[in-house]
Symmetry: C2
Subunit: 354 residues, 2 copies
Amino acid sequence: MTALQNDTFLRALLRQPTDYTPVWMMRQAGRYLPEYRESRKTAGSFLSLCKSPDFATEVTLQPLDRYPLLDASILFSDILTVPDAMGLGLYFEEGEGPKFERTASDEASIRALEVPDMTKLQYVFDAVSQIRKAINGRVPLIGFAGSPWTLATYMVEGKGGTDFLNTKKLMYARPELLHHILEVNAQTIIQYLNAQIASGAQAVMIFDSWGGALSHKAYIKFSLNYMQKIVAGLTKNNDGCKVPSIVFTKGGALWLEAQAEIGADALGLDWAVDIGQARKRVGDKVALQGNLDPAILLSTPEAIEKEVVSILASYGKGHGHVFNLGHGITQWTPPENAAAMLAAVRKHSKQYHQ
Amino acid sequence: MTALQNDTFLRALLRQPTDYTPVWMMRQAGRYLPEYRESRKTAGSFLSLCKSPDFATEVTLQPLDRYPLLDASILFSDILTVPDAMGLGLYFEEGEGPKFERTASDEASIRALEVPDMTKLQYVFDAVSQIRKAINGRVPLIGFAGSPWTLATYMVEGKGGTDFLNTKKLMYARPELLHHILEVNAQTIIQYLNAQIASGAQAVMIFDSWGGALSHKAYIKFSLNYMQKIVAGLTKNNDGCKVPSIVFTKGGALWLEAQAEIGADALGLDWAVDIGQARKRVGDKVALQGNLDPAILLSTPEAIEKEVVSILASYGKGHGHVFNLGHGITQWTPPENAAAMLAAVRKHSKQYHQ
């Protein structure tokens, strides 16, 4: 493996000194890029991109080639590869969200769930190895998985949503069944992330996209505790070094104090919380990643720069900040506005690292 | 007017002593009730129910007749009556959310917006008078409106949504145009709520359903400041008495400290925040209304009672708590589970008021 030329992102995750605030964008390989839309057309579908290591490598590198100011890359994949490997049958209908052919929603289908053989996810690990080689040491590669709770919502509902009434009904009426799903998911994700690490992932991120739909108490019990178990189960990389971890609960900024205690190196923040206040609440326990509203990228370079300046100033002097959006970049983003954001972060962040 | 026989709800909003914790349910007149579905079938549509004072009275009283333990009633209406009166043309397509025939999304359509003549909303004020008479003093009647920001999202997008990209693009690129919409909305809502008060509303609630989609800074500037203006503009009732106000930002529990300063008597809470922690954060500045996850009502009476007990215990001893759901009751709720919730609140809350 070529030596890493830019470790700013990894150092920031560990709250070590850096010359500027590193930056990447959630969903940076995505539909807002014409070159991505071209690859997707060639591959035929989103899932074909995910399941082919060649295509996954191609699209993972597209934003790096376009934006030299990016400080990290992230595996192109989907959190739902995991329930798919469990046999639930992931598919996408044109213009709609992800769906599953089968659900895990009654006692029999839930009790039948098992940690899948990791060979079913070999295409992901192959993609990680291949991407890592192709990046050739330019920036670190992030591996990722969905949180046990977030995956459970799709497994119970059979599709995406926002109120998760079936999952919550299970949670309140048959909590032991939901705990079974979550335990299988957690054990699976530990193996899944460790295999990504063994294949070359240099940081890992857990996306708890739907943890914010829970009450405080339910969040701790049904989401955070299982993420804690995953973080504790992460292995070192092939060189015997610790791989930094990021936990991101969308809509979860109310519970940052609890999140800071689970052993993750960094917490993801959506744009709802003021990052300076978040920093005060978590102290020096974790680094923070975030938190520009991706909708700002639809406006103007001037407005974008103003918001970047405001977030950097709110975080203030010192290390431990990874700049990012508060959620995935939207498909309507003009690519030049993403460039304006990246340039503004580099331009204005150096003063906070002197 | 008949004298009010049960003022527990009004006293709680003003943090005065009560014998137990009063309770009502957001959207308590709704599709989960078979008698409501019958009325709606007769009326022909949701909008026909809203626009007919007779039907609005009929459905407002249905939950009161079914559940003697309810401590408040709320006008049956919709927050979108206001942009409809501004000429945007509200309509509903079967199985879909609300839509508008016209949007206020470019400079010309936004600058053309004006505070509508209140006679266009006379059907709402007539409903308030008629409901107030029909309730005959059993419990207080709540009037309501959407927040300026929440109404603006519908006016700009032309429909409901969750990411509000057009509204946010306007906010970041042309803030002065969004401020114009918000100012017109605020002035309209002041007149609208004051006319509801003059017609007999005994408390008013502002629903900021989409304030939680904003960043901290944007929430203060584009949502909270305009709600503060509305609260300051509320008039006394026909007897010269102050009418208590409730402000509810769904997804807004991060910002409770700021909400507690705007002069409202009570804050609504969704289920994300622990109500005991919320109480510590707002101190004795406001009463709190909430905050059971409505999804719990899909489970069992035992699970419901357990959660009610937990919320009451978290709020703890003392006054100033109005029990409610953290969001509207879902259409899939078995009516007997709503009864179980109401009974649990009455049974377990008395000990906290001794």
